[in-house]
Symmetry: C2
Subunit: 410 residues, 2 copies
């Protein structure tokens, strides 16, 4: 029997599910993908630069590559004269060597000739003849030059395993000559909404029914968090039907998420079925969190599937999907990323719920005021108005009006 009173803390629930997955080799498989298609994917390897960046000493100005010492004492009125012995062409190797008293024209980004250790901007020079240059400025060694490897050294780890790739990383990978990367594949998710009272969003003839909100809500969150929704179902609370659907979904999904049917007082088919279908049995039934208490987690070793039963309440189901499903997967992939958070000033007191993690939906204004959104249970409207949530930890005291708080974006 499953004891509803034995609730886990949020951390315990995650830890149980995570350990079960790790001990039974949950597949966070790796695939090679093109950097062009890598936005939002998670690196499954450390990326080692294959090259020095830049790959050669180069000029940061349009001007002349010189030996710095040759320009000593040059100024506005007393130039130094140098012999122009060639030109470095953009995009081509430069085979010229210079000796004291010599210089070479170099464009911005162009390769320095051997022997040169600084560049003089063209604005500070004057061509006396094709071969003779007056230099009106003294430059120090290294001036207007980026040396080979200054930005990135060959062999250096430039991005670490667990990094979620953003657009800048995609450009950065190109700069270190990496065109393909090993990333964790996108996990496959099946979403099942259950409830005798539920109907599809646009069905007619609906007296007594409630429209199914969670399917589209959880599809949206899955898309946002880079999970691949392969199927979704809307089922009556019938144990046989539910068992058949979850069981089939487990054969081709990495994660099966049900919502509804897990709270006390309703027909509790989900927990019975999940218990029967998984090798771990129900790991957690009930989490000390508000809202979101009636949450079920389990893992099946044979099919390598995480099965999570979320509450039917849309706000609870969205928050627990993020905190249990998304965060456990992140932990399994070793994702190192900053949470998308913002700091602001809370505009009302938020009471804590003793012994429970408390989640309060909030919105944020232009002045970084964080405003709690209250709404009666089940009103999806409140979720649509929210920018994110504030989280009070298990043993944290309530938050007072005017305090600085951290908002997690939903």
């Amino acid at each position: 029997m499953i004891d509803l009173l034995k609730v886990d803390s949020l951390e315990e629930a995650i830890e149980k599910l995570y350990s079960e997955c790790v001990n039974n080799h949950f597949n966070v498989d790796i695939e090679e993908i093109d950097v062009k298609n890598s936005l939002g994917r998670v690196l499954a390897e450390d990326i080692v630069s294959k090259v020095n960046v830049p790959e050669f000493d180069r000029s940061t100005v349009d001007g002349y590559a010189v030996i710095a010492k040759d320009t000593e004492g040059a100024n506005d009125t007393i130039p130094t004269f140098l012999n122009v012995v060639g030109e470095s062409l953009m995009g081509l190797p430069c085979d010229i060597s210079i000796k004291n008293g010599e210089c070479v024209y170099v464009p911005t980004g162009g390769m320095l000739p051997k022997g040169a250790n600084a560049c003089v901007m063209i604005e500070y020079t004057e061509n006396i003849t094709d071969k003779k240059l007056a230099v009106y400025n003294s430059v120090a060694e290294g001036q207007s030059v980026i040396k080979k490897g200054d930005d990135v050294k060959e062999g250096a780890i430039v991005l670490s395993k667990g990094k979620r790739i953003n657009a800048a990383d995609m450009g950065f990978l190109s700069s270190v000559a990496v065109g393909k990367i090993k990333a964790y594949r996108k996990l496959n998710v099946t979403i099942i909404s259950t409830g005798d009272e539920l109907i599809d969003g646009d069905e007619k003839d609906t007296l007594g029914k409630i429209r199914d909100v969670n399917t589209n809500l959880l599809i949206g969150l899955s898309n946002k968090y880079n999970l691949n929704v392969i199927n979704n179902f809307l089922l009556k609370d019938e144990e046989i039907l539910l068992e058949k659907t979850i069981s089939e979904a487990m054969t081709n999904s990495d994660v099966v998420v049900t919502s509804g049917g897990s709270s006390k007082g309703k027909k509790d088919a989900s927990s019975v079925v999940i218990d029967r279908l998984t090798s771990s049995k129900v790991l957690t039934h009930g989490i000390a969190i508000k809202p979101g208490k009636p949450t079920i987690t389990a893992y099946d070793n044979k099919t390598k599937t995480i099965v999570v039963g979320l509450p039917g309440h849309p706000v609870a189901s969205a928050v627990l999907f993020k905190l249990i499903v998304v965060d456990t997967i992140r932990k399994l992939m070793g994702v190192k990323e900053k949470e998308s958070v913002c700091e602001g000033t809370i505009t009302e007191n938020i009471p804590a719920s003793p012994g429970r993690t408390t989640i309060q939906l909030v919105k944020i204004d232009d002045k970084f005021n964080i405003i709690p959104i209250y709404g009666r249970s089940g009103l999806i409207h409140t979720l649509s108005m929210a920018d994110g949530f504030v989280k009070l930890e298990l043993n944290q005291e309530g938050i007072n009006k005017g305090e600085k708080v951290k908002m997690y974006y939903l």
Copy 2:
């Protein structure tokens, strides 16, 4: 002739491009899409609720629907007795009417019988017989009931044109019986990197060359901002080749973005070609912004294409892509959304550039300190380390260490 000295402010540049697009009917076409596929899309219509939410008076508890007045005076020790005249079944219409002295069992979410105006939680009742209930609590009218339309009224505008759809909206749309929405289609973008010195990210034999960073960087940003990259090219700075490529791209793209080849001192093929290919001619060549000055904008009425020439410098190209391309499209679609921003404390002085908008890359730490990232021109590494940027407006003074600043996520 194009005068490089006549730079526009960022606002002028956007306004010129925006007006040209509006006056010449740039197509931000509308298509009907399924709510299931709508994450990140922009609404092209106001969404009107087709139903009341809830669609009937319903109970928020497991218990008995009553006439509130009948429970007056009931308490722990002195119950009121009511006749149980039926049960409201979950998911079905309830045809029962109750009169004074009668009650009906209703589950959470179940429909109230006619005549009832409150519910008593089952915990406060006792079944004396099948037909006789003792009520140990007095309830007020409306208690534990959500009335028809309490959350959303039929005919109300629930989401406005210009809203970018998030996961909560997807759920919310389901709750108001909307399964399909009109959204702006994803615009098609072609990305062209130019430069004699540029080579593909993973090419070998590269002395004197520079790896093309901007193609993958701009693909990443396009993906992030819901633009559809249909093609990308890496070209030498050859006018004929560039003209042919841009011209062909204009036939099937809504936006053609080039990068490189727009700055003074380099071969300036981009501006000449863009000027020749567009009905508007070059609208802006040079923006008072640092970095990012050598930016070109134009619009072609015949092909309905926005053409933007970005600087070759990756940081400048990323920032200007966001500020010109993304923000102009947002304006054309009338997108109403909060910028993704965060407030924090700047850890160093940031000097302003007189007469220019200044963009400073920054990162943010756990304590919401905002730390400027400096790097020599062209070092892509700096962009990969940044979380976002701080923006100093045209005539804004520098920011002092310790001030509160707004960071825009990149």
